[in-house]
Symmetry: C2
Subunit: 440 residues, 2 copies
């Protein structure tokens, strides 16, 4: 029986899931690949702590180099995250002719094409299903399920922590800070939640999906990225009254040579399939030119869901090894030597509808000043509600929905308005996403 040896770098939550699945499903994996998949080496800084997995003697090491340079290892699984040393280790493994499985969205977003090109040089495979959407097989759906189609765009709930926090804020009317604290206590949020709640993790994942959906390379620094930390229960409640939910969305759609790609909290119609995605779940809504609208839903994180995606990648590579092939699903299109450059539309040019919440003094003429400033900047108001005076201070909340307007115009109007003494504090701006933005 053929044996395929796996070296695992990073024995944290997902790594433990991978080791557990390789152990408990060994027979199943043989039936599905024709090979025995052996977990040969695991590298981690901490090799003392028990993870509840039975391992043979000599499997654990503190040296990741021992794995990427081990001639007996066929597939290297990188689960340490971050840019370095993950990048160096993966490139070394590829150089040594090893296939690589990674869940590292930060690295793929920043250096994906460097890694894909290195893999092509030595004729090995790189698989990264676990980098986006945890257990949801969205990567292979993009690469294989929709191989016959052109993707028009996608919307994604790609960060479980943010969706968990927004869902609890919605269900309980609770504050961001209170829910975050509780989420941290329960293990749904990291001690430093910045990557998750500020949209950075979502932007990394958006860029990974973008490269597959549009077959090219974009500059991730150009992806406008805004998180959920300033969303208040007031906004969530008012959105609900208008028939919307607030979700942190990755938004991406093809506009000819330019792609609209951004991450921000969004009002989404409560009847939209994505609005139903609660808790720590993820979902990706994809529009194909031929296939039409589709959605893929599941757990976006966790030991076993993400572990199962990593092992599915190991299975895929094992099937290739058994058949003696690689690069069966090319990351770089046939007939091209380098990825196509994709330009991301500047945020200032984006056209969208807006939800606005002003905190203003309760005096005659306020509404006319606001609507005047908006109108002078080509922003047309769809509806206005002025809420009664808040007893705790002297300000009132004015809620508005606009028609479609240009982001640069909106920002200019807000700057002008915030110079006026009648506005108290920052204006809340949340973009409305009715559906995947139309190409135009």
């Amino acid at each position: 029986m053929k044996t395929i040896s796996v070296g695992l770098i990073g024995f944290g939550t997902v790594g433990t899931g991978v080791a557990k699945i390789l152990e408990k499903n060994a027979g199943l994996l043989y039936q599905r690949t024709g090979a025995h998949i052996e977990l040969k080496k695991i590298a981690d800084l901490d090799i003392k702590r028990s993870r509840g997995v039975r391992l043979k003697k000599g499997v654990l090491t503190t040296s990741a180099d021992e794995i990427v340079n081990n001639p007996e290892i066929d597939i290297v699984v990188e689960l340490i995250g971050g840019i370095e040393p993950a990048r160096r280790l993966i490139l070394k493994a590829l150089e040594n002719g090893k296939h690589v499985v990674t869940a590292n969205k930060a690295l793929l977003s920043a250096h994906g094409w460097e890694i894909f090109s290195a893999a092509r040089l030595t004729g090995v495979d790189v698989a990264f299903e676990a980098s986006v959407g945890g257990g949801i097989p969205i990567i292979r759906t993009m690469q294989e399920g929709f191989a016959s189609d052109r993707i028009s765009g996608f919307l994604g709930i790609l960060n479980g922590t943010s969706n968990y926090i927004l869902s609890r804020m919605t269900d309980e009317g609770a504050d961001f800070k209170a829910v975050l604290k509780d989420a941290q206590a329960q293990g749904y949020a990291e001690a430093d939640p910045t990557f998750d709640v500020e949209g950075i993790d979502t932007a990394h994942k958006l860029n990974v999906l973008l490269s597959l959906a549009f077959g090219g390379k974009a500059d991730p620094k150009k992806i406008y990225t805004e998180g959920i930390s300033s969303i208040t229960p007031l906004d969530i409640d008012f959105a609900r009254q208008l028939g919307y939910k607030i979700k942190l969305l990755a938004i991406c759609s093809g506009h000819g040579s330019e792609i609209d790609a951004r991450v921000h909290p969004s009002l989404i119609p409560e009847k939209h399939m994505l609005a139903q995605v609660g808790g720590a779940f993820n979902a990706i809504f994809v529009q194909g030119q031929d296939v039409g609208p589709t959605m893929f839903y599941g757990r976006g994180a966790g030991m076993m869901p993400t572990g199962s995606a990593v092992v599915a990648d190991i299975v895929s590579i094992a099937r290739n090894i058994v058949k003696g092939v690689s690069d069966r699903v090319p990351l770089l299109p046939y007939g091209s030597k380098a990825p196509k450059a994709i330009r991301i539309k500047p945020m200032s040019d984006v056209q969208t509808r807006y939800y606005l919440r002003f905190s203003a003094v309760d005096k005659p003429g306020v509404l006319s000043s606001i609507s005047g400033a908006l109108g002078r900047n080509h922003i047309s108001i769809h509806s206005v509600v002025q809420k009664g005076r808040d007893t705790s201070n002297t300000a009132v909340s004015i809620f508005m929905l606009t028609h479609e307007a240009k982001e640069s115009d909106l920002q200019k109007a807000i700057r002008q308005l915030e110079k006026l003494s009648m506005l108290k504090g920052k204006t809340m701006v949340i973009r409305i996403v009715e559906d995947i933005p139309a190409a135009g």
Copy 2:
């Protein structure tokens, strides 16, 4: 440049979609496969009617045998549906060393393993993404996305026609017959809608998914199959008041050596992701042991969605041809010569909760007679509502939800009750599906 030749049998709606996609996406398909994919032959009884596709001279033929015996053709696409002559043509194509793509769920349900075994004999591939869920890539998700996991079960909305009719009945409070008639006029339902509305098409698709999810062969005649033609607006309305929607579901879950597999209208909680699936859309909710709950949503039918799934299969096979491999994702597990036999649990043994609607004379003692008969048959009542007298006749409607009970007990109780003169007409029985049935 390598050329891969495709022969298409059946130039109807989906066949036309396939031809259109192969034409408009030729460049894209080359980039993704490394081969030029040529539509060499199309067989149909009607080769006169224009389908709006440009075809070279000599492509059209009325003889399907000309395709399956053509030595120049690499991939045969079967889109005629039904058992014969589709079965004979596919087996001939496989015998002649051709790869086969089919959307034929009726054939796959009845003779899938015969076809898979024939393909293995000559070392060619069979792909059937378009057989279930139209454009939703659920087949490859089962075969590849979840290759590391054990499926616990799935629930599917697999028939667009039925879902379209139920959705309109729900939205408009309209009768089954009226909506069906309109659906036929609009092309959402066939002139003879039996296969769709009586659950037969859904049962075929269930059996195809079952064979992948549980890696074995079941007798499709054992799948209990009930359609939606007796559902009334009264039931839909009452279900809604109780927090449920009525959907035609394929239900399948693993029970050790026995599988619970059935098709029937079901009350599903309105908060369940599947309850959100409206119109002609399809969705499959899959529970994996490691990956947890997932859902896949999209158009279940139509020229371009289903056509795109067929062409995705052509791409997959083309990628294998370019790399010189086949049977990379084995349909029969390694180490086994024949599919595992899967036993379907008899419907009489199924345990579920029930929605019951009795039409009864409005006299004292009716409720006590009904609850007595149920109780004697071990059926415990969860809640009862008796609606006021219907002015158009002398009967009243009594609605009940039961706790979990055994199907044979329920049927026995109904038989006993329907012998009593106090019941007018048939009792409506709709099973409640809160989630994928637990193994047990």
